[in-house]
Amino acid sequence: MRKVIWLNHVSLDGFVAGPNGEIDWIYLEDELFDDGHDLIKTGDTALYGRVTYEIMKSYWPTAAKSPMATRHDIDHANWVNPALKIVFSRTLKASDWQNTRIVRDHAAEEVGKLKKQPGKNMILFASPTLASTLMGQDLIDEYWFNINPIILGRGKPLFQDTNTVRKLTLLGSKAYKNGVVNLHYGRN
């Protein structure tokens, strides 16, 4: 069965963004992009909550066309623009980003159904609120976290409070030159 893989850049104290949505603290480098891209290529579908979707939509449709585009911009644009993008939102009415499907309700049921359909993996980008809903129904199969060497103190938490304890299996870990550590977990 195809997997749902949750991919995130996160601060050491567990935030995916600063208090005002800042993501300028995220450490990036070639090898980190390459490894992330290798993972993303195992998928054919992107899953987003509305906030993450809108950030992505403001960048990726034109990213590869910019004269400033890096190889990584081009790689990801070439994957994400044609990929099926499913955004879970009650407020979003329509989107002009190609191949977007808006799902208004019952995110967990919908993802459960999608998992049973044939296809490659589904990559869940950031979207902590959606991730919490999916984790609640045990729908996330792998976690790919890039832990940044910074303590933010405040911000948007990766994990929301729940009453569910979840034990995972460490699948891999890797330290990058810039001080980021990738932690990769799967189901126990």
Binding site: D13, G14, I150, G153, N163, V165
Partner: protein, 181 residues
């Protein structure tokens, strides 16, 4: 100058509260050796009240062949608290006044590392004064869902990754130092 090392058990969701309840299933030889080496390259503990009170109940009766318990019990324990009056655990010393001044004094004394275990409030207070020289986090492959987060509302800090190590049971050591420019 001696280093202050905050050595902590955390879950993947950053909870450091009551590790006794969730860390034992992952304990193995490698983690044991890491903790042993750490204790033997230190010569004192620096603790907040809550952690101190838990330790003071548990440690005096802990005896092991390797001598970990003996060393814990004989170490000087520096306890930061405004409310504690009496310290029952052997070789305990109360720090009541100006934390920054008192802890800086300890750092300037000759000796090995000063170890902090647990003591989330104290860690954050020391971070405000940039008094922590190293963070050693053992990250456990478990999401608890709720509990006190080690760094909740901490001061912003840029760190330098010094070492990572993966233990067989899925625990990962992340070792950082402050990025002091």
């Amino acid at each position: 100058m001696r280093k202050i090392v905050a050595s902590e058990f955390v879950t993947l969701d950053g909870v450091a509260e009551e590790p006794g309840k969730w860390s034992f299933p992952y304990w193995n030889e490698e983690i044991s050796k890491f903790k042993f080496d750490e204790l033997f390259s230190s010569d004192a503990l620096l603790l907040g009240r809550v952690t101190y009170q838990g330790f003071a109940k548990a440690w005096p009766s802990m005896i092991d062949e390797a001598g970990y318990g003996k060393r814990m019990n004989s170490f000087p324990k520096h306890v930061v608290s405004r409310t504690l009056e009496k310290l029952d655990w052997n070789n305990s010393h109360l720090i009541k006044g100006d934390i920054e001044k008192e802890v800086s004094k300890l750092k300037q004394q000759p000796g090995q590392d000063l170890l902090i275990f647990g003591s989330g409030q104290l860690v954050k207070a020391l971070m405000q004064h940039d008094l922590i020289d190293e963070y050693r986090l053992l990250v456990y492959p478990i999401i608890l869902g709720n509990g006190k987060r080690l760094f909740s509302d901490a001061n912003k800090a840029n760190l330098k990754l010094v070492e990572t190590k993966t233990f067989g049971s899925g625990v990962v050591l992340l070792r950082y130092q402050p990025n002091r420019k």
